[in-house]
């Protein structure tokens, strides 16, 4: 807990400066004070927590789940077949230069205002770090260890499950830690562009009503989701890679 002491203090100082600054400017639709945002959050608690949050959360969860499945399958495929790697890896890198945010309106056109247009944005944004880190992890398997396995007569299957997968885990988790906060951004962007519910949608609606605190309140929730998901990944990593603690 000690490790977080200084950052907590700094956060409070910044919040204090913000509070004082906002009160002096006194135009809450441009810069609402933290206390105003907090009050707004409380005021809108039912609508935000019971209606918008579950929708955004399901976008994040479904998007991440599909992204993980696709990313893991693809990285395994690329690690097993050189041809597949040479075909897909350059495409994968190039795909990252496409400004996804600019493309997002197209997805709304394709998938409508349904949840799927937001899920697609989330998938596209999180797919890359998961795939690349898993692939790098699988590829980083120690060659000497691989030969030791072979010298014991290990099958391809045993090599994969007993050596390559454990070797890749550490790198996989690094990718996942990057992907999780990005999934929140993906979901929010998706909702911004076209939705009928969700935290991103709600924030945007408040913007049109010049309700500064109302814009910030769902954003606080969005970042809370990101932080909690990140902590969940870190805990899972610590549990699975418990040998690293020593």
């Amino acid at each position: 807990m000690r490790n977080y002491m200084y950052s907590t203090i700094l956060t409070f100082i910044l919040l204090l400066i913000w509070e004082i600054g906002a009160r002096r400017i006194n135009t809450s639709f441009i810069l609402p004070a933290p206390t105003e945002i907090g009050m707004k959050l409380w005021e809108l608690r039912e609508e935000l927590f019971l209606h918008h949050l579950p929708i955004t959360f399901s976008v994040i969860a479904i998007g991440l789940a599909i992204s993980l499945t696709l990313g893991i399958l693809l990285s395994i495929g690329m690690s097993m077949s050189k041809t597949l790697e040479q075909t897909l890896y350059p495409l994968l890198i190039t795909s990252q230069t496409i400004p996804i945010i600019a493309l997002a309106p197209i997805f709304v056109l394709w998938f409508g205002y349904s949840i799927w247009s937001k899920i697609v944005v989330t998938i596209i944004i999180t797919f890359f770090p998961i795939t690349v880190s898993t692939f790098d992890g699988l590829r980083s398997t120690n060659r000497d260890l691989k030969e030791l396995f072979q010298s014991m007569g290990a099958s391809k299957r045993q090599l994969f499950f007993k050596l390559e997968v454990p070797s890749a885990l550490s790198s996989f988790f690094s990718g996942l830690k990057v992907a999780v906060p990005m999934s929140v951004i993906g979901a929010a962007i998706g909702e911004w562009l076209g939705a009928q519910a969700g935290l991103g949608y709600f924030s945007r609606r408040m913007m049109t009503q010049f309700d500064g605190a109302g814009v910030f309140a769902p954003i606080v929730l969005l970042s809370l989701i990101g932080i909690l998901l990140f902590i969940a990944v870190v805990l899972l990593e610590k549990y699975i890679l418990n040998w690293r603690r020593i």
């Binding site: 030791l148 396995f149 010298s151 014991m152 007569g153 290990a154 454990p166 890679l241 040998w243 020593i246």
Partner: protein, 258 residues
């Protein structure tokens, strides 16, 4: 050579083995018509400079490489596919950091899909001085201990033939001496046949019945030196005059090549 008559008594045999190493520059001959036999229960060291083909001989025996021509016999049987037939202990301990001591040692049995029915692993863990460390991870162990786990893993391959590739080269001098004595003790207990690569001539003299000296590449003949020491051996036996002379003559032979 009596090798052809009593095949059953031989743990390892090479007969007219040729091997070429291929790289971008083309083919490089490493082994040229190499033949040797190692009877069961013997301790043999291979001494040679780096890049002389010692490791190639190991890779051939283990089955990671295939000879160009000639035959390799394990326990009297000619074997084409040798993967999984001999125990191999690599230069670095190559323990998996995510597995405990026991899980690391157990790996060969796991690969052969065997169960540890007679709790052989537990018994050997005790004998190898690893009791109380079964559930520790490799990064909690000292260098000597890690090598013992690695040797235990090679032993648990179930083969009577063990190949040890400079296993003690990374250890400090003191640990190295104790590990050598310990290795001889285990070798006598387990009744295994050991082929040991080293570039340390004292180590080879202390451990082996015979030493194969490699001076040329490609390797054609393995020059054989018998070690004039009785067993059990202790480090001070190396101070005998005949041993020192033998050691110096071996060192002289390598000096010419450097």
């Amino acid at each position: 050579m009596k090798s052809i008559l009593d095949n059953d008594e031989q743990a390892l045999q090479f007969k007219n083995v040729y091997f070429d190493y291929e790289n971008a520059a083309g083919q490089i001959r490493i082994l040229k018509d190499v033949s040797f036999s190692i009877p069961k229960g013997e301790f043999v060291s291979i001494v040679g400079a780096s890049g002389s083909g010692k490791t190639t001989i190991f890779r051939l025996i283990v089955g990671l490489e295939q000879q160009k021509s000639g035959s390799i016999y394990v326990n009297g049987e000619e074997m084409e596919k040798r993967l999984g037939k001999v125990g191999y202990m690599p230069q670095q301990d190559l323990l998996m950091p995510w597995r405990t001591v026991r899980q690391n040692a157990f790996l060969p049995l796991e690969i052969q899909k065997q169960k540890d029915t007679d709790s052989k692993v537990d018994r050997l863990l005790g004998e190898f001085g690893l009791k109380g460390y079964e559930n520790k991870y490799p990064n909690e162990l000292s260098g000597g201990m890690r090598q013992r786990v690695s040797f235990l893993r090679a032993t648990l391959s179930g083969s009577n033939v063990l190949l040890l590739d400079e296993p003690f080269s990374a250890l400090d001098a003191m640990t190295k001496l104790f590990m050598q004595e310990w290795l001889l003790e285990q070798w006598e207990k387990q009744l295994s046949t050991i082929l040991f690569i080293t570039h340390d001539i004292s180590e080879a003299l202390f451990l082996s019945d015979r030493i194969f000296v490699i001076t040329d590449t490609p390797v054609t003949t393995l020059e054989e030196v018998k070690v004039p020491l009785k067993r059990p051996r202790w480090q001070h036996h190396l101070d005998q005059k005949k041993v020192i002379e033998l050691k110096n003559s071996l060192i002289e032979r390598f000096r010419m090549r450097v």
